[in-house]
Symmetry: C2
Subunit: 144 residues, 2 copies
DNA sequence: ATCATTTAGGACAAATTTATCTTAAATATT
DNA sequence: AATATTTAAGATAAATTTGTCCTAAATGAT
């Protein structure tokens, strides 16, 4: 469904958000350990997310990553997915045709459209804040 | 969503089915041309599908691939996807955790489960016959 | 029987994704 | 100013996926 880069990115963001809720910046090493993601790889993904102002980064000692509550509330999962995986998941053809629409649909287009709308709705209705809260309250986990 | 192998496999099966509905076997070259898929690669995928009796293959002149109407009606899209891509799409964690369930869910588990159920339902309710008919009637296309 | 045609299947190659490593740039602390 | 710490970013490597090529096996037609 999502690329590994996207999975790592989402987990990292959720972890960083929980830390930020406690007033703590998260270093990439901590992120890697606590989100079960490869550090250097995740650092690149976070670089991209930083570029899009989804998360903030700081160099030097006391540096790391953090998010404001505003960022957590504004950032939808759909934003993260779009930045990392592009919008193929929202618009792409399920059978890989270069174009596919109601006018000239692939055989799965109709059925696929509905499923995709469900995915899009789910991702646009879920914010980083929502998921960070669940993790903070111990209702969910990032590693298994 | 699906791997390229799966996309090519689905397109190939739908094309083969329409040909079978007209009493024609389809050679891999025809399949490639008419489904817009790489021939040799698709041949391997069809080999797997043949092993699972989703499609039939015949060697020699007059050989090729075909499906009985019974096969078309019995074969759900979910079967093809499971054979080629495995059942990760049905059971796997959206964030890539090795395990993820209601007991110890990842942050996206609840929302993801619903979406996944929608995908599963869509794939199990759609048969090869359904899609082949749509293509045969000119309502859908395999190439763009 | 021979031959041409087709799938089967393994080896190989290319492309993409995932992941690591190394050096540079930034910056807080001393 | 010097130093230690951290992210940034490019180079490189490993793994996986995608795709091609070639030979063997099967088989219908002559």
């Amino acid at each position: 469904m999502f690329s590994k880069a996207c999975e790592h990115g989402i987990k990292a963001i959720i972890y960083i958000a929980t830390q930020s809720l406690q007033g703590q910046r998260a270093k990439i090493g901590d992120v890697a350990i606590n989100s079960g993601s490869p550090g250097a790889f995740t650092a690149k993904v976070l670089g991209t997310l930083t570029k899009y102002s989804i998360v903030n980064s700081y160099t030097g000692p006391t540096g790391g990553f953090d998010m404001s509550v505003k960022q957590m509330r504004q950032t939808k999962m759909s934003d993260i997915v779009r930045v990392i995986d592009g919008d193929n998941i929202y618009n792409g053809c399920g059978l890989g045709l270069s174009e596919c629409n109601n006018d000239q649909p692939c055989p799965m287009h109709d059925k696929f459209s509905k499923v995709r709308a469900g995915i899009k709705e789910m991702l646009t209705k879920t914010t980083v804040y929502d998921l960070a809260k669940g993790l903070q309250e111990g209702k969910t986990v990032l590693i298994r």
